[in-house]
């Protein structure tokens, strides 16, 4: 098992070296392959029975929103080690920025391509405003402040109805347009392809930026901070501004996702940005592997597909079996009456707990993070051993 893995590594060695040296290139290359391969999934059984290619591509474009959220949350949680539980708030701010920038409600029609930048910027500003006073606090206080912020933002959009149209939300949000450039003008409600390509482009750029940052001075400061804040501070790292940058970058990515989300859906209400969104994004990051952007992208994609497709298919499959109810003493197990879709958040909760207990580095771990987390586990064992030897 181990030997074959090493063998494979050695064989791929030069290629790996090259890809590591040319990260942006390999990201582009990887995303391009994904872009081509994903729509072909629909040709393979049993997926060909789950819907048309358009359904799949549209679903992937929606998944892209969560992939973006996970990439951004990973910067905050995975790279800088700050727990942000109100991440959906920045998503909401991005979405509403788009709605103000281009909709019948505001009467403006700013191009989507400008709004992407504006949305990311506005979300980052809110990130700074929230982060500046609170990032001085200890880490778990930050978790609770962000949780409170995540509750307040949708409440403000809901109740300040003079400025937000309240509970009815904002409709008629403009869709992206290419203004007939190169004869293409395909954004519409019935054609998911342009959205699919756009979101892949945004993800590619975001991933490149995150990798660049990770390898920069700032990225190394994040690692130092995450591993030992006191040591990092004494080495001359400005802990507050380092954390603040992570927070703002995370927020701006959520803002991006929000702009794309509201332009694709064309209608938003405050109820779409409640705690479940933050929780789902966190589950994606934890499952994918905190700190590893590729892992998180995969984690987000898998979790989203399980939630939007997998459980429905499982449900239909269980029912199509027509299995007779199994009697286990007082409990009767009847597959046809179990509604698997209802188990979604129970599964996410179990996944979070089990991952943290058994494989805290996630399914696709970053090497560095794994070492850190296992170092801690080794410490636990050591202290346990100490305790035993003491008694």
């Amino acid at each position: 098992m181990t030997t074959t893995r090493i063998g494979l590594r050695q064989r791929l060695g030069p290629a790996r070296e090259f890809l590591r040296g040319h990260q942006s290139l390999s990201i582009t290359f990887g995303m391009a392959i994904a872009a081509v391969v994903l729509p072909l999934i629909v040709l393979i059984p049993p997926f060909n029975g789950f819907g048309t290619q358009k359904d799949f591509v549209g679903g992937f474009a929606d998944a892209g929103v969560f992939v973006l959220l996970a990439i951004g949350l990973n910067v905050v949680v995975g790279l800088a080690g700050l727990l942000d539980l109100g991440y959906a708030a920045f998503f909401a701010i991005g979405a509403y920025t788009m709605a103000y920038g281009a909709s019948g409600y505001s009467g403006l029609d700013t191009p989507f391509w400008i709004m992407i930048v504006v949305g990311a910027f506005v979300a980052a500003v809110f990130g700074l405003l929230l982060g500046a006073p609170t990032l001085r606090l200890r880490g778990d206080y930050l978790a609770i402040v962000t949780l409170g912020f995540g509750e307040i933002v949708p409440l403000v959009f809901l109740n300040a109805d003079t400025y937000t149209n309240g509970t009815n939300g904002i409709t008629g949000i403009a869709q992206p347009s290419l203004y007939g450039l190169a004869g293409i003008n395909g954004f519409g409600f019935t054609n998911p392809w342009p959205y699919y390509i756009t979101v892949l482009l945004i993800i590619t750029i975001a991933t490149m930026l995150v990798y660049r940052l990770q390898d920069s001075r700032l990225g190394r400061a994040w690692v130092a901070l995450r591993e030992d804040e006191l040591a990092a501070a004494s080495m001359g790292i400005n802990t507050v501004s380092t954390k603040l940058l992570a927070f703002a970058i995370g927020a701006s990515t959520a803002g991006l996702a929000g702009v794309f989300y509201s332009a694709k859906l064309a209608s938003i209400t405050p109820q779409q940005f409640e705690f479940q969104v933050s929780f789902t994004a966190l589950a994606m990051v934890v499952l994918g592997g905190m700190g590893n952007t590729w892992g998180v992208i995969l984690g987000a994609f898998i979790v989203y597909e399980i939630q939007s497709q997998g459980l429905h298919q499982l449900d239909a499959f269980a029912k199509s079996l027509h299995a007779p109810p199994i009697s286990l003493g007082p409990i009767t197990l009847d597959l046809s009456t179990i509604n698997f879709i209802n188990y979604q958040y129970l599964l996410f909760g179990l996944a979070l707990v089990l991952m943290m207990l058994l494989r805290p580095e996630g399914l696709f771990p970053s090497r560095r993070r794994r070492e850190e987390l296992h170092e801690a586990a080794a410490e636990v064992e050591a202290t346990a051993a100490d305790a035993v030897s003491q008694t």
Partner: protein, 333 residues
């Protein structure tokens, strides 16, 4: 501060706060000020009971136990199960039977939820005690969703009616008119809080809890069994949340699988407000939250009451992270 209020500082702050709150009630609700005051005290008592568990757990292992709000929710479902199984549908007239059923319900809910709390600590938090701080926080969020969704898939996805066994009688004490249920809830909560204080300050186990909170390693060296002390803390904290769950049923007569999240967050705000780790502070914080909510509604800004509570949380953390009473280290437990 120039004047040293000394040991009277706490009572003076509390009395001043209550007076100010009452004055605001008079301004906003006029003749209804007294009723609104009682409403605030009652809901505040519920938040205080939940906040105690939050603050005790934080005090001893520095973990925000996000699953704590769900313990409160599960406690209400335990009381629903017990009361409906016993066949009650409404108020119980016979005071002896009523007393017996009340004691039975509270003990059952408190013991069951206490055990649940201990099990959660053993399974989900203890293995991570020395892991990076992020790990147990994520586990706690996960536990919260697990508890919530177990109730969602196995019991009910909607509002569940709990028999209100306390007769709905109004009592008058001179100028004060109060419904029996309100008086019961306030007295019960205060009683449990006093009992907790006595336990923490006067008993050996309580001393073990305080010493563990202060310095775990030193306590261990002095012969305190850390694991069982932490388990005990979880038991007591969860039992108090279980009691709050029973109160939810008695007072409102309903429960729902999602009431734990918001209640937990409000109670946490209360704990932060009172100075996290400080049990007296958490109790006071619970009442403060009750007053903020009721005042918002009484002034006609009811739709903003939650935003006001969470806004308070953020402001306190930014400007006075040690809470109104401060983090009295010697008092932490």
């Amino acid at each position: 501060m120039a004047i040293d209020f000394g040991r009277w500082r706490g009572p003076i702050v509390v009395a001043g706060f209550l007076l100010a709150a009452y004055a605001l009630m008079v301004v906003s609700a006029g003749a209804q000020a007294q009723d609104q005051f009682i409403n605030a005290l009652t809901i505040g008592a519920v938040y205080a009971l939940i906040a105690l568990g939050y603050t005790m757990v934080y005090g001893i292992i520095e973990l925000i136990n996000f699953a704590h709000g769900e313990i409160f929710m599960c406690g209400s479902f335990v009381s629903w199960w017990l009361l409906t199984t016993l066949g009650f549908t409404g108020a119980i007239g016979d005071p002896l039977v009523l007393g017996g059923v009340l004691v039975l319900t509270f003990i059952t809910a408190m013991v069951v939820m206490g055990i649940v709390g201990v099990v959660i600590e053993r399974v989900a938090y203890r293995p991570l005690r020395n892991a990076p701080r992020l790990a147990p926080l994520i586990t706690a969020i996960g536990m919260s969703f697990i508890l919530q969704n177990i109730v969602f898939v196995t019991i009910s996805n909607s509002i569940v009616t709990i028999p209100q066994i306390l007769p709905n009688t109004a009592l008058t004490f001179g100028p004060i008119a109060i419904r029996q249920i309100n008086l019961f809830v306030i007295v019960l909560a205060l009683g449990l809080m006093v009992a907790l204080q006595v336990f923490v300050r006067r008993t050996t186990l309580g001393r073990a809890m305080r010493s563990t909170a202060m310095d775990r390693e030193a306590a261990q060296l002095m012969g305190v069994d850390i694991n069982s002390t932490i388990a005990l803390t979880f038991f007591i904290g969860s039992a108090l949340a279980g009691a709050a769950g029973v109160v939810q049923g008695l007072y409102f007569g309903v429960t729902h699988f999602q009431i734990g999240f918001q209640a937990g967050l409000k109670a946490f705000t209360a704990a932060v407000l009172g100075g996290i780790g400080n049990t007296t502070g958490a109790a006071i914080g619970g009442f403060v939250i009750g007053f903020i909510e009721v005042l918002a509604s009484s002034f006609g800004y009811g739709r903003w009451s939650e935003a006001a509570v969470f806004g308070t949380l953020i402001l306190v953390l930014i400007f006075r992270p040690t809470g109104i009473l401060g983090q009295q280290l010697a008092d932490r437990a």
